[in-house]
Symmetry: D2
Subunit: 346 residues, 4 copies
C-alpha cells in the first residue's frame, strides 16, 4: 500500500533523527533552558528576520494553540476564526476548556477575509450591550488552511490592518507552514509572516520533525511569562533539548524549506494528473493536500493500492478524498499514484 493519508505517519527526516541521536552522551539543562534550544531559536530568528522575537518550542499543535490563546486573551475575549479552523473543529473543545469562546465565521476554501474581521470588530465596537457579549480579542488563521489553500500577501496585509483597527491579536497557525510557503503561486515569505503576525508557529510535526512546533512571538505582551503559560498548559517538555535539536537541524541549510518544497512539487504533479484525467478538485489547493471528488468506483479502485482520507460526501454524492504528500513521500510513491490516476478507466 502507498500511503497518502496524512503528513504525520512517518518517523522524522533522517537529518532530524540523526540530530536527536547525536546529542546522546551529553547532559543538557531541562525544560528548554539549554544551548541547543538557544541555537535553534537563533537560527529561526535570523531566518525570519526578527532578531527580537521570542521563540519557544512546544510539542504539538493543539497544545500550542490553546496555550497561545490562554496567554493572549482576557477572560471575556473570544477568538475569531473560520468555521473550518482547526481550533473550532478538531481540538475537542480545548480552547473552551481553558475558558474562551470561539466565534466561527463562514469561510471560502478555509479562508476568512479582512472584511469579515472588520465587521466583527465593528459589531462589537458599536454594540450597546458590550458587557453581554464576548469581545473579539484575536484572529486565528491557518497558513496554509485546513484545505491546503494560502492567503496572498495582500490578504494578510489587509487582515493585519483590520486587526490593528480593532485591537485584535493576529495568530497564525503554521502547523503546515513549510508546505504553505512552498505553495504554487504563493507570494508570502516567512519574513512576511513574522512581520504581520503577533504570534505564529512553525510546524515541525508535519514537516520533518518527530514532533514539535516553534512558537514565534512578536507581541511582547503575549510573550510575558510565556514559559509559565507553557508549563501551566502541559506543553513544557522536560527534555526540551530534543525540540531544540530537531529545529536546529531543520533550520540548518534551510532543510525545513527544501523538504516541504519537494513535497509540494510532488503534490502538484499529482494535481496535474488528476486535472488531465478530468477528475474534479473539491478545492483548488496549491499545497501538499489535494482534495478531489471521486465516484464510488474510483474510490474503490484507488483503495486497492493507496491509503487516502475520506473527508465526507459532496452534495452530488461524490466522495471528497484527500491525497496528502509529505516530506517523506518518495518518488516511487508519487509515480505509482500518478500512474494509477492515468490508468483509471472509470
Amino acid at each position: 500500500m502507498y500511503r497518502f493519508n496524512n503528513d504525520y505517519s512517518l518517523n522524522a527526516h533522517p537529518a532530524v533523527l540523526k540530530a536527536v541521536s547525536d546529542i546522546s552522551g551529553h547532559a543538557y539543562g531541562g525544560y528548554g533552558l539549554d544551548e541547543i534550544c538557544t541555537e535553534a531559536a537563533d537560527l529561526i530568528k535570523a531566518r525570519i528576520g526578527a532578531p527580537d522575537a521570542d521563540v519557544h518550542f512546544l510539542v504539538g499543535g493543539t497544545q500550542t494553540n490553546y496555550t497561545v490563546i490562554s496567554a493572549a486573551l482576557l477572560p471575556y475575549q473570544s477568538v475569531l476564526c473560520a468555521e473550518s479552523g482547526h481550533i473550532n473543529v478538531h481540538e475537542t473543545g480545548a480552547v473552551e476548556h481553558i475558558g474562551h469562546k470561539i466565534t466561527a465565521l463562514p469561510h471560502t476554501d478555509g479562508k476568512i477575509t479582512a472584511g469579515q474581521i472588520a465587521k466583527a470588530g465593528e459589531d462589537f465596537r458599536i454594540s450597546d450591550v458590550q458587557e453581554h457579549i464576548t469581545e473579539p480579542g484575536m484572529v486565528y488563521i491557518s497558513f496554509p488552511t485546513e484545505y491546503g489553500t494560502v492567503y496572498t500577501l495582500q490578504e494578510l496585509e489587509e487582515i493585519r490592518t483590520a486587526c490593528d483597527e480593532y485591537g485584535l491579536v493576529l495568530f497564525i497557525d503554521g502547523a503546515r507552514l513549510g508546505y504553505g510557503l512552498a505553495a504554487e503561486g504563493n507570494d508570502v515569505t516567512i519574513q512576511d509572516i513574522a512581520r504581520i503576525a503577533d504570534v505564529f508557529y512553525i510546524g515541525g510535526t508535519k514537516c520533518g520533525a518527530l514532533f514539535g512546533e516553534a512558537v514565534v512571538i512578536r507581541n511582547k505582551r503575549i510573550g510575558h511569562r510565556f514559559r509559565s503559560h507553557i508549563k501551566q498548559n502541559g506543553g513544557m517538555l522536560a527534555k526540551g533539548f530534543l525540540l531544540g535539536a530537531q529545529f536546529r537541524a531543520l533550520f540548518a541549510d534551510d532543510l525545513y524549506f527544501k523538504i516541504t518544497e519537494q513535497a509540494v512539487g510532488k503534490a502538484m504533479r499529482i494535481k496535474e494528473a488528476f486535472r488531465e484525467k478530468g477528475i474534479p478538485s473539491y478545492i483548488e489547493s496549491p499545497t501538499n493536500q489535494q482534495f478531489v471528488l471521486l465516484t464510488d468506483r474510483q474510490c474503490a479502485v484507488f483503495s486497492e493500492n493507496f491509503v487516502f482520507e475520506n473527508e465526507g460526501t459532496a452534495e452530488d454524492g461524490m466522495h471528497i478524498s484527500r491525497f496528502c504528500t509529505s516530506w517523506g513521500t518518495t518518488e516511487e510513491e508519487t509515480e505509482a499514484l500518478i500512474s494509477a490516476i492515468r490508468d483509471l478507466n472509470i
Copy 2:
C-alpha cells in the same frame, strides 16, 4: 414616556413585594434551607405534576444556565443550541468560561428541530475521529425563544425522541416561561415541559418577581449535589428565603400564570393593531415580545412617546423594533401604544 423596551424594568408584582415584606421579623435558615423554600418548591412540584422533581432557586438567568450546564456535562461535551440562543449570544461567554463549547445550529425564528439535533448526534456517532471533536451532551432550547416564538408539543416530543436516541440532556430555558405558556395557539403545558425536559427553569425575573429562577431537575444525575454546583458558580443566595417567598407568592393561586397571560393578551392586541395598520412583523411572535419592521420615520414618531428596543436593521433597511409587554404593562400604556399605531400616517 411609555416603556415597552423590556420585561425587567419594573419592580415586582405587588403580591410578590408584599410576600417579601411579610417575612420581616422572623428568622429563617440560610442558603435556601428554610421552610418557605420548601413550601414554594412543593407548590411548584404539585403544579407541574412532578412530585419527585428537585427544585432549586437561583437568582438570575445566565447564572442558572451555566450552572446547569456545568452540572450536566463532562469536560469534553458540548451544548447544541440555536445560533440565537441566549447562552450563545448574550452571556459574555459564560458557558465557555466554565469550560464547555457551544455548537450553534441555524435556527428558524429562534427554533431548532429534532432533525438538526439528530444529525448532530449522528455525526458524532459515526465519526471516526470522536476524540478530536466535542461530544454533544446537551440540547439547550428556550421556551419561548429569544424571538418570542414557541415550540409545539409535537416539536418538543420529537426533540425529546432525538435526545433519547443520542443520549442528550434536554435543558429548557424558561426565562419567559409564563409568556410562552400563555402564547396564542400554544398547546404545551407546564406539565409537558416537566415531563419532556431533563431540566428546565421557571423564570421569575421577567415574570413578576424581583429576581429569581426556579430550576426544576427531573434527571437525578444532574441533580446530584446540585447545591454544590450552585454554590461553586456563585448562585447561592444567602437569604434564599427571599426566593422562596417570591415563588410561593407566584405559585399561590396561579398568579404566575395569570399575570403572564394578561401580558400576552395585551401583546396580541398590539400585534393586531400593527397588522391592521399594515406594519409588517419581522417574526410572527405569539408572546409578549413583538418584533415589527419600521421605517426611519415611523421609528422617529414612535420614539417620541414610547421606549422600545432596536434589534438591528433588516436587509431592506427597515428597523427591527421590539415592543415588549410584561406583567406590569398597564391598560393605559397598551391603549396609548395601540392608538399611536392607529394614528400613524406615514
Copy 3:
C-alpha cells in the same frame, strides 16, 4: 427561640425594605444602568472619599470574590490568603473553578501579616523555577476576618507596602465591613480601606440589605470592562436598580454605619457577660461575632432557648460556639442572652 446563629437570617432593615418598595411603579434601565445605581454609587464614593473609584453592585459574596479575582489575575497567578479565608474554605472551590490557585498561609486569629506576604513575594522573586510555580498576584484579606477580628491601620499599611514591593493586588473582602469598622478599638476608617485596597467591597447582605455587595475598584486595570466580568460570572442582576435602591438607603444618613455599630455594641455587652461569667473566648473578637468555649452541658443549656453555631471542637474538648449579633438583633434578644449567661450555674 432567640437566634444568634448568623447575620443573614432576617429580611432587610425596614428602611431598605421601604426603599425597594418605593421604587414600584417606575421603570428603570436594566443591568445596573439606571439613575438609582448612579446615585448610590455617588453616595458611596463621597462617603469613602474616592470620587474617582468605580463602584459596581453584585448580589452575593462568593460571586463577588471570584469575579474580582478573575478580573485581577493572569492565568498563572495565584491568590495569597489566610488558611481560614472564606475563598479557601467556604466557597466550594469557586476560585479554582475559574482557574486560579489559592495559596493559603497560616493565620493568627484569621489574620495574616505583611511579613508573610513579603516572604511569599520574595520566594517567587528569587525562585529559579518561576515558570513551574504560580506567581502570587493578589492578597485577599477580610475586614473583619472570618473570626471577627480586625487589622489595625498599621497592619494594613504594612500589608500595602508589601503588596507594592511585590506587585500584588490587595483585595479586601468586606462582607461584614460595617461590623469591622465599628469594632471595639478599631482605628481603621472606610476612607483608609478605600485608600489602601486596590479593590474591596462593602457587604450589604449581612449588614441590613436583602442582598448585595458594593464593589469599589481603585485600580483602573482591574476596573477595565469589569461589567463584562460581572456578566460572564453570573453576577449581573437584571433589575440592578434593586441593588442601587438598597445601597442608596444604606448610605443615606450613614444608616449602614449606625446599624452595624449598634450590633457590635450588643455583641460587646454579650462578650462582657461571658467574661464576667468566666467563660473563655476561643478568639478575642471586637465585632459582632463572638466565639466562646462551652462545655457539653453549657451547650445544652443555651440550646434550649438560643440558636447559635457550632464551629467545631477545641483541643480540650470544649465546643467552639459562635454567637452572632446583627443589625436586626433586638434589645430583648440581647438581654435574654445576657441573662442566660448570668444565670448559668454549670
Copy 4:
C-alpha cells in the same frame, strides 16, 4: 563536570533511541492508534498483571496529572495530596487552571497517611455545610515521592482502604516509578501498584525514554472516553507510535526495571559514602534521589566538579543538596562522586 542534578538531562537509553530509529521507513496510524502502541500496551498489561487495564501514552508528567484529574473528578471535587506533591508545588497551578482545588496535607518525608485521608473524608462526610466546601474526590500520591521515599505495601493497602471507605479515587504518580520499585527495602511490586491504584502512570521521561508516560487505568469510569480528555488537554501526540516504540523497548526484557535498578544501586553507594563521611541526610531516601545537608564550604568544594541541585536551606543554615542518579549515570561518574565525598576534609 559530572552531572547529578537531575534524571532528565540526558537523551534516551540507547535501546530506546534505536527503537525510535528502527521504525523509520514505515507509516503508522496517527494519534496512538497503531500497532506499536498496541504491542507496548500489551507488554505493560502482561507485566503488571492487569489484562483488562486501559493503557494510554502521554508525553509528560504535568500534562498527565491534570488530564487524569480532569477525567476523574466532578467540578466540585478536590484532590487530596501532600503539601510537597508535584501537582501542588511544581505545575504552575495546572490543576486549578482546569478547575479543581488541591487540598494539601502535611507530609512526613513526602508521604501522607491513610489516617489523614480518612480524616479528610470524614470531615466532609459529617460536615453540615457540604455544599460550601469541595468534596474530596481523589487522593494523589507519588511513588516514589518528591523526596525519593516510598510507601510500604501496608501503607498503600491502608490508603486503599481509606479511599474505599470514602469513595475516593487513588491516583499514583509514577514519574519515577522504576526508581521507586527498585528502592532499597521496597516491598511493593508493580502488580501491587496496578491492583491498588484506580489509575497510575509509569514514568518514561526520567527512566530511560526520550519522553513519555504510560497511564494505566483500572477504574473504568475514569477510562471512559479518556482519549477525548487526552486530546482536549493537549496530550495527544500526532505520532503516537513514537511513544509506543519507546515503551515497547523499555518493557521488552524488563529493560525499564533493570536500568532504574542500576541507578538506585549507584545512589545507594553514594548514600553510603555520605554516611561514612558523617554528612547528614536531609531525608532518608532509598531511591535515586539523595538529599544531604552540606555546609557552605562543602557546597563550594563539590560545585567545582559536580552539578547538583540546591533545594533550599535547612533550619540550621545547612544547604539541602540533591544528588540524583539516573539510568544514564556512569560508573565513572559514580566513582568520581564517591571519591570526592571520601576526600572531603572540611
